[in-house]
């Protein structure tokens, strides 16, 4: 049996005290334990920012790559060894700014992985600049006239016909952990947008602010198989903010359609130069 001990790391944590990331870290560990996944079967792929440091603070294989490029690296890894459980971790800057094109491509492709986006509506690591999801008018050092329109990542994901879309809240660890489990169990690309208070740079969207507003869609009889309903739910923001599974569908999984991977993962297939002899005959 896998226990929380298996996911305990000794690497010192570099997050601010009280950061929303701590709750997300707990939720990730609990989800992996609940699914009885051993650390060596898990591959974390992350980018750059405060959120993508998360895998260092637990245990698993880790490819901590470039800012915004988590999804391509994760896709390459998953195709190379589809036996691995692949979890991508980014902040809103990497996922919805620098790497937003990859998000659409990965979602359309429907590679089987789970993508956790810690969305605190601000750049933490570079110290407080506006992010793609910052509120209109948010004044920072790079946006002295106030930030422009925020991007709605849920709408974007739905437009790319995503197969699993959820939103969680860093302040509700149990619920978030359940979403992460569902995302990992889902066959296909799962995006979990996680509302994460930033105690240093975002003094509007605090724990208290979210706690007053978030509600669980499943408690209101919401049908996450209904895409039209999802498009409406994805636009709900302000007094009431929905969390839970927003949309889910079954779609062919990218790597499952590759005949090359039917017998065994690519990485286990032997190298045999003689095999291409028949190809030489074609020239």
């Amino acid at each position: 049996m896998v226990t929380l001990n298996d996911y305990a790391s000794t690497v010192p944590i570099a997050w601010c005290p009280g950061c929303g990331n701590f709750g997300i870290l707990q939720a990730v560990k609990k989800a992996l334990v609940a699914l009885n996944l051993e650390p060596q079967r898990v591959l974390f792929v992350s980018g750059i920012g405060q959120a993508p440091k998360l895998p260092h603070y637990t245990r698993g294989n880790l490819f901590n790559g470039l800012h915004g490029r988590t999804l391509p690296a994760a896709t390459g890894a998953k195709i190379a060894n589809h036996d691995l459980t692949v979890i991508g971790i980014d902040g809103d800057g990497g996922a919805y700014g620098e790497g937003v094109g990859h998000l659409l491509a990965a979602s359309r492709r429907n590679i089987d992985m789970t993508y956790l986006v810690h969305n605190n509506q601000v750049y933490g690591l570079t110290k407080g600049q506006a992010s793609p999801t910052s509120d209109t008018g948010f004044i920072t050092k790079t946006t002295p006239n106030g930030a422009g329109l925020p991007l709605n990542p849920l709408m974007l994901a739905l437009a790319s016909d995503i197969s699993f879309l959820a939103r969680g809240f860093a302040g509700d660890i149990e619920h978030l952990s359940g979403l992460i489990q569902a995302g990992i169990q889902h066959r296909g690309f799962a995006l979990i947008d996680i509302l994460q208070p930033c105690v240093s740079f975002n003094h509007t969207n605090t724990f208290a602010w979210y706690k007053e507003r978030v509600y669980k869609v499943e408690s209101e009889g919401y049908n996450h198989a209904d895409k039209a309903a999802a498009l409406i739910k994805a636009q709900e923001w302000g007094e009431r903010i929905p969390i839970g599974i927003i949309y889910r569908q079954e779609r062919p999984v990218f790597e499952e359609q590759l005949p090359q991977l039917k017998a065994m993962p690519l990485v286990k297939q032997p190298i045999d130069p003689m095999r291409i002899g028949a190809l030489l005959d074609e020239f």
Binding site: H56, N61, L84, L266, Q269
Partner: protein, 577 residues
């Protein structure tokens, strides 16, 4: 008398210039001739002017010749542009019902291509096949060989298409025999031996080398001249265990290949300069995370979009310096299609052995020119995966350290999912276990460890090919795809009583400084010949050996060098050589 026979097929994009050209090239290759075929086309789908040149010899041929025996003109512009390239006695095949010729001369051989196609098989599309048949009719080549090639080319379209093509070709063949009679056109007869060399271009050879060398993953975004690599792997990979992902952009391509490389499969990207520019950040990522990856950089003229369908060698320094920060890399620049095959295999071996990126630098001329090569001996292909740990070794490890500091700089490599080892790496500076660090001592150790890999890598790089000629004063220096043209120029110069040495580099980084310095130190005059405007190889040689080239012959018009151009420019531009 040695055979040196040249045919050029010209026409608009969409007229089937390439398909006629390939049928000619294959039919000569099938007759055991040595063939070099190159193509010139514009960045458009219809219209413009395209041509396909086929050179046929009875000895190895690695360069084109603009002295034509037969010009196959599918449109009038082809005659206007290429008539001047005809040798004395050379002839033009044209469709007199479609094209008005400027003069009534015996060298214009009217073959009504469209009409013959209509009359014989009721299919205008086969006018091209009529043209191919006519070319072989003029030289009296064994028609059965052409029929065999047509059969294998069109077999997948069914028996009727095969037979119609043969019928159309025979119509052209017969009429050309009649109309060419008495013109003293040299006859060219296939040999019986049937050695059956392969006829392939640089990209074909790279693909075969990559697949023989165990490449299992390719990611890419189409870009001339590398698109055909992606297409070939996408097609054949399904059956041969290679996955090709057509990605959203080249940034994704390189990051994906690095992700696959980290996970343990041999991974490759293929692009041109503009795409490689987007890959550069992830090239450094591979350097930092010590991930094996192979990048094919097929050069075309830049900067920016440049001349998309043409050739240049102006990305040597780009390949050497691409990437922020300092990390080891190898740069291979195969000179011929045959070398491209072996370069691909070597690239994967070096990438895994030294856990670092390897760049294969080619160009449009090498990528898209066809040559006959002896069949590759697959039994001689050696796979060296370097210090890849076995499952047993991994199972004995307690705390695996992906970036263990060693004397060679190479850390034993486990793969994610292999036993209980956790494979941790980071684009941030990291400790031996792969976790991010800030302290100076660890930083220094990891930088030094990575760069120590250069010591071993340097020993793997082959020195230049030096060919000396008694009495030679000058050494002609080249790299990559200019090999054929420079070698042939040197051969002609020797025949003409003006011997030169040649020095050619096919493996460029780590730079084989010692062997280059020894070779050039003895030479009276060093003349660098390269396809760029700033003499990049000359600069590299000077930087690495202190030897300054005495002259440079540079070309940046997007066209390849011919041996004749090299010779005439030596006479015009270089004093007292």
């Amino acid at each position: 008398m040695a055979v040196d026979f040249n045919i050029l097929v010209g026409g608009e994009a969409g007229q089937g210039v390439q398909s006629v050209g390939m049928i000619l090239a294959k039919t000569f290759a099938y007759g055991d001739f040595h063939v070099f075929a190159d193509q010139d086309y514009e960045s458009r789908v219809r219209g413009g002017h395209n041509f396909f040149r086929v050179r046929v010899k009875d000895s190895e041929v690695l360069a084109f010749s603009p002295e034509l025996d037969i010009l196959v003109a599918l449109n009038r512009e082809t005659i206007d542009l290429h008539e001047k390239e005809l040798k004395t006695g050379g002839v033009i095949i044209y469709d007199g019902e479609q094209i008005k010729t400027p003069a009534d001369s015996k060298k214009y051989i009217n073959i009504p291509l469209l009409k013959l196609a209509e009359d014989t098989v009721k299919n205008k599309l086969m006018a091209n096949t009529v043209a191919a048949g006519a070319a072989f009719g003029l030289i009296g080549y064994d028609f059965d060989l052409l029929a065999f090639i047509l059969k294998s080319e069109f077999a997948r379209h069914g028996e009727k298409i095969v037979n119609d093509n043969i019928t159309a070709a025979w119509a052209g063949y017969k009429l050309a025999r009649e109309r060419g009679a008495g013109l003293n056109i040299p006859s060219l007869q296939p040999k019986i031996g049937n050695l059956h060399r392969l006829l392939l271009n640089g990209n074909d050879a790279l693909c075969l080398g990559a697949m023989a060398g165990g490449c299992k993953f390719v990611a890419g975004y189409p870009m001339t001249p590398s698109s055909s690599i992606l297409e070939y792997i996408a097609d054949k990979g399904r059956q041969y265990g290679v996955v090709m992902v057509h990605v959203e952009d080249e940034i994704s391509a390189m990051n994906m290949a690095v992700g696959a490389g980290y996970t343990g499969v041999r991974a490759m990207v293929a692009t041109s300069g503009g795409g490689f520019a987007l890959m550069v950040e992830a090239l450094a990522l591979a350097g930092m995370t010590e991930t094996p990856v192979v990048a094919v950089l097929g050069q075309r003229p830049g900067p920016a979009t440049g001349l998309p369908t043409r050739t240049e060698q102006a990305e040597l320094w780009f390949a050497l310096h691409a990437g922020h920060g300092e990390f080891p890399r190898a740069v291979l620049a195969p000179s011929t299609a045959a070398e491209a095959f072996y370069a691909a295999i070597k690239a994967f071996n070096l990438a895994e052995k030294y856990q670092t990126p390897v760049i294969i630098l080619t160009d449009h001329h090498l990528a898209s020119s066809y040559t006959t090569v002896n069949r590759f001996d697959l039994s001689q292909v050696k796979i060296d995966r370097g210090e890849l740990l076995s499952d047993t070794e991994v199972s004995k490890m307690k705390d695996y350290k992906r970036h263990l500091v060693t004397a060679s700089g190479i850390s034993p490599r486990a793969l994610p999912g292999q036993g209980k080892a956790l494979v941790v790496t980071d684009s941030d500076e990291h400790d031996e276990a792969g976790h991010m660090i800030e302290d100076a001592a660890t930083r220094n150790m990891q930088v030094q460890k990575r760069l120590r890999k250069l010591t071993g890598l340097r020993r793997e790089i082959a020195g230049p090919e030096l060919k000396t000629s008694p009495g030679a004063g000058a050494t002609l220096i080249g790299w990559g795809s200019t090999y054929g043209a420079i070698s042939e120029a040197a051969y002609i110069l020797k025949q003409d009583g003006h011997p030169v040495n040649t020095l050619h580099l096919s493996e460029i980084w780590p730079f084989p400084a010692e062997s280059v310095a020894v070779a050039l130190g003895k030479s009276k005059q060093n003349i660098v010949i390269e396809g760029n405007a700033t003499a990049q190889m000359a600069g590299l040689i000077r930087r690495e050996t202190g030897i300054k080239a005495d002259a440079s012959i540079l070309k940046y018009d997007g066209r390849p060098f011919s041996p004749a151009e090299i010779i005439s420019r030596l006479h015009e531009e270089v004093k007292a050589w």
